[in-house]
């Protein structure tokens, strides 16, 4: 195994309270160590910035909905194809790159760990197959459980709370799929959409046919995840995404889970004032105020970037709304028992009031937030924009003059309805960028070996030229080290690496099978015994994070 000494760089490792100190970082056997021998490869990092590899806590990179988006938009693939080389596979780019290109491009950006944030458990075998073909990064996926009819039944039987069978069922599902965490998307709302295009308006609406409410789903599944001690808390895409006035729902959801660990995804899309059917306004400051009083809750922003995007979501009702707004392509897919899916190619326009407001609300969340450990970077790739836009987003946060210039190009009526014109002069430091792009996501995911450069951490390191143009700096790392081997050098990929599948595991009573099997027989068209994915070829190489140990 290679030994590497990264010498003389300015190290930004906020998890270790290191803020730009000039020091060496030593790597051996895939880990950060305190020292290496004289024969170690020396990377001269003088004048450069050294950070842990990036960790993307919320993106959509693999699985049936991602692949459906590829098939839906062949014209988008033509941009920037990736030629095969002696060691690399070919691929195509655009908003939803092919799997190999996805891994390569994340690596070229300095990211070494990515979370697929919404996988139907029924499709786990497909998700795992795609992830096996996504190289260079360690990866995990969250399984969708907010509209699972079997769980609805268990919740109803428990009177709306956490019961041992429910807790065991959640653990069983993770074990059966290789998933890492639990995602709730529009709890109850997707089921109503599939029934008759219905929708949830309040957390206390009854989910027709099941006798439970979204609030009970949040409490029961969120509570089960909490009691199981999974490394990542329940990951929530709240009800009423994109609806003016939805901040009420978001705050209600946060209050419902207050006191328990929870992560709220792409909260920009959930921070709107106004009334349904009307124009939205920003209520980001209220959400941030709530967050500041509730450190147990974290969020990722889901920043909108002006330009093309590919909206894809389990919240299929939202896609139908975009279909009617846009009139263009629309794909809907209903997955039995578990979830739905909607896909609409979309373009965010700077001159459009709503789009500019969304852009402004995202920046408000970043810039008004008190604690960067609570507010993490995401574009909900590719919903708000491609992960390739992260460098531009970082520049927006670090460079006020650039931000002001971009702001002037946006719809001014919308911008005036945000706090961005109120003398908001905050500029993120490099350490704050390190927090929102690796340290905080890794900590929130319970990945103790990632997101930092302390002794024993994974040897995932990104080294940047310290350029004044922060977009250029973060778009083209000088080196990326993955698992202790140099993966990117001078902007070129030098090797291929399969990456690890990250899974979590919690103990459960195996007798839960007797609870689940008859319910499967009633609902699924796949036999209970054939549902789990055990194939080593799909689940390995893996790192399993045990519950209760993060």
């Amino acid at each position: 195994m290679t030994e590497i000494r990264i010498s003389g760089g300015a190290v930004h490792d906020p998890a270790s309270d290191v803020d730009g100190d000039i020091r060496d970082v030593c790597l051996r056997d895939g880990k950060v160590v305190d020292d290496v021998g004289p024969e170690a490869r020396r990377i001269d990092a003088r004048g450069m910035v050294v950070m842990a590899g990036g960790v993307d806590i919320h993106a959509h990179i693999a699985g049936p909905k991602v692949n459906a988006a590829r098939k839906l938009s062949p014209e988008d693939r033509r941009d920037e194809p990736h030629d095969r080389t002696e060691v690399l596979r070919s691929g195509t780019g655009g908003l939803v790159p092919s799997t190999f290109a996805t891994g390569y491009r994340y690596s070229l950006l300095g990211y070494t760990t990515v979370i697929e944030a919404a996988a139907p458990p029924l499709a786990a075998r497909h998700v795992l197959s795609e992830l096996r073909d996504t190289p260079m990064i360690d990866k995990a996926f969250l399984i969708l459980m907010g509209n699972n009819q079997v769980l609805f039944e268990l919740i109803r039987e428990s009177g709306g709370g956490v019961s041992p069978p429910l807790r065991d069922a959640v653990a069983w599902w993770l074990e059966a799929t290789g998933g890492y965490g639990v995602k709730l998307v529009n709890p109850g709302g997707v089921e109503l959409w599939k029934q008759n295009n219905g929708q949830i308006t309040s957390l206390d609406d009854e989910i027709a046919g099941f006798g439970v409410t979204p609030r009970q789903v949040l409490e029961a599944v969120g509570g089960a995840v909490h009691e199981l001690g999974l490394p990542h808390p329940v990951h929530i895409h709240a009800n009423n995404l994109g609806v003016p006035g939805n901040a009420d729902t978001t705050l209600d959801t946060m209050r419902t889970l207050a006191g328990r660990q929870a992560h709220f995804a792409h909260v920009q899309f959930h921070s709107y004032g106004g009334k349904p059917g009307g124009l939205p306004r920003s209520r980001a400051p209220e959400l941030l105020e709530f967050l500041s009083a509730h450190p147990e809750i974290t969020v990722d922003v889901g920043q909108v970037m002006f330009g093309p995007a590919m909206t894809m979501t389990a919240d299929a009702h939202v896609s139908a709304v975009l279909r009617d707004l846009d009139g263009g392509k629309w794909l809907n897919h209903d997955t039995e028992v578990e979830t739905g899916c909607g896909i609409v190619p979309y373009t965010y326009k700077a001159g459009n009031y709503v789009h500019a407001l969304q852009w402004g609300i995202g920046l408000e969340l970043f810039l008004l937030g008190q604690d960067p450990w609570q507010v993490m970077l995401s574009t909900d790739h590719p919903n708000g924009g491609s992960f390739l836009s992260y460098p531009k987003l970082i520049r927006l946060l670090m460079d006020r003059s650039f931000r002001d210039d971009q702001m002037r190009r946006a719809n001014q009526r919308a911008i005036r309805r945000t706090a961005l014109l109120d003398g908001l002069d905050r500029e993120y430091s490099l350490n704050e960028i390190a927090i929102i792009t690796r340290a905080a996501p890794a900590r929130r995911l319970g990945l103790r070996d990632k997101g930092h450069l302390g002794i024993g951490a994974d040897a995932d390191v990104t080294i940047y030229h310290d350029r004044a143009d922060r977009e250029e700096m973060f778009a083209t790392p000088r080196y990326v080290v993955k698992g202790g081997e140099v993966a990117v050098e001078e902007g070129d990929l030098r090797r291929s690496d399969d990456g690890l599948l990250l899974s979590s595991r919690a103990a459960f009573d195996p007798e839960v099978s007797s609870v689940l099997e008859p319910r499967f027989g009633d609902r699924y068209t796949v036999a209970f015994e054939h549902y789990p994915v055990w194939d080593p070829a799909l689940r390995e190489p893996a790192r399993i994070v045990e519950a209760g140990r993060s």
């Binding site: 990736h82 070919s90 499709a123 497909h126 068209t525 054939h530």
Partner: protein, 391 residues
């Protein structure tokens, strides 16, 4: 021999995974009863005796066949990788990897025959659902010019049309098929009028009038059925997607469904022409970004349209092409057929080898190996070929 099951049957795209196979001196029987399943297992349980491989028709060992295959592939100017009708996802992953290295053309669809037009779904999208969604929610199921009683014998059962009261089966066909005989409402017009019928249905759905005719009367009966329910499904397949004008027909169907979706929930389900195609096409899409046919000759994937000439193909690599033939890979000249240069028997997925297949609705399923075989899988052979070619 002992019975085995339940296992997944890849005899058609339904991939029923509740199948028990009974072996007796009378032959092979599948339970639940399904003629395709019985035939599929029977063929694969008893692969033909003979060589494990051939080179130019002469028996050979697998290693020699692989060496010859690698030699042919290295020398090919314009190789084509195709077939996949009986392939697993693992086979397809290995095949596309090899194609990438070779700079080959890969096709999961049929390249010959009348040009159906580019796929319709990328033009406007689609609304789809899994079998369970249709079974549990759709009150009207319209089967459009397909005969699943023959091609997917358990489809109606799996969609709940056998035993769930209050369901209506509508069949559009003029052929008097076995499926049409089970219809609650049968509609009949010539295939050439399908596009007219679909666009007229769209007009009727909007509450507008169409010119009175026999066809219009039939269409009104259908639209009335659809309007009366909150949830419906359309099942279609090669009857719409094959042949000249297919793109317009399929586009018209999806536009109709899209319009219907404003007032109710309507989904579609496509019956593939062979069970391995869905998984192979998914693999092709995730590895290259495109489904259908992809040209890797330029060093990166490029979407192929059938308007491009294929007459420069000088070597074909056929991957698991058949359902009734023994599992195999084969290399041959431009007219792959009896004069195959290299042929290697493979372990039949779902009987002799495990793997993954994607059901016609996209649901991934495990294929089991109740009768393991010493023969290698296509995935193993193709990976070996990749290693040989890279030497």
């Amino acid at each position: 021999m002992a019975d085995f099951g339940p296992v997944t049957c890849a005899g058609c795209g339904l991939l029923c995974d509740d199948v028990t196979v009974e072996m007796s001196s009378d032959g092979v029987r599948a339970r639940p009863e399904c003629p395709l399943a019985a035939q599929w297992f029977a063929v694969r349980m008893h692969p033909p005796d003979g060589a494990a491989a051939t080179i130019n028709g002469d028996a050979a060992d697998v290693e020699s066949a692989l060496a010859r295959a690698a030699e042919l592939l290295r020398g090919a100017r314009r190789p084509l990788v195709h077939g996949f009708e009986g392939a697993t996802v693992e086979d397809a992953r290995a095949a596309v990897a090899l194609a990438d290295r070779l700079g080959a053309l890969v096709a999961t669809g049929q390249l010959e025959g009348p040009w159906p037009g580019a796929p319709a779904v990328p033009l406007r999208g689609a609304c789809t659902g899994t079998l369970g969604e249709i079974r549990d929610r759709s009150r009207v199921v319209v089967i459009w010019r397909e005969d699943p009683e023959t091609t997917h014998p358990r489809l109606l059962e799996r969609l709940g049309l056998d035993d769930v009261p209050g369901r209506t089966l509508v069949v559009v066909d003029d052929r008097g098929t076995a499926t049409a005989q089970r219809a609650d409402l049968g509609l009949s017009w010539p295939r050439e009028r399908d596009l007219e019928a679909l666009t007229s249905l769209h007009v009727l759905q909007r509450g507008l009038a169409v010119r009175p005719s026999e066809l219009a009367a039939e269409l009104r009966r259908l639209i009335e059925r659809l309007r009366a329910v909150p949830h419906a499904a359309f099942v279609y397949g090669p009857g719409l997607t094959a042949g000249a004008g297919a793109q317009r027909r399929v586009l018209a169907l999806h536009e109709l469904v899209r319009a219907l979706c404003h007032e109710r929930h309507v989904v579609t389900l496509e019956l593939p022409r062979a069970p391995g195609i869905r998984g192979a096409d998914d693999v092709l899409a995730w590895q290259t970004g495109y489904g259908g046919a992809v040209d890797l000759a330029g060093g990166h994937p490029e979407l192929v349209t059938a308007t491009q000439p294929l007459d420069d193909v000088d070597l074909r690599l056929l991957v698991e092409p058949g359902q009734t033939a023994a599992a195999e890979i084969a290399l041959g000249g431009p007219a792959a057929g009896p004069d195959v240069n290299v042929w290697i028997r493979t372990a039949a997925p779902g009987v002799a080898a495990s793997g993954t297949a994607h059901r016609l609705d996209g649901v991934p399923l495990a294929l089991q190996a109740p009768r393991p075989d010493v023969a290698p899988t296509a995935a193993v052979l193709l990976t070996r070929l990749l290693q040989e070619v890279e030497r």
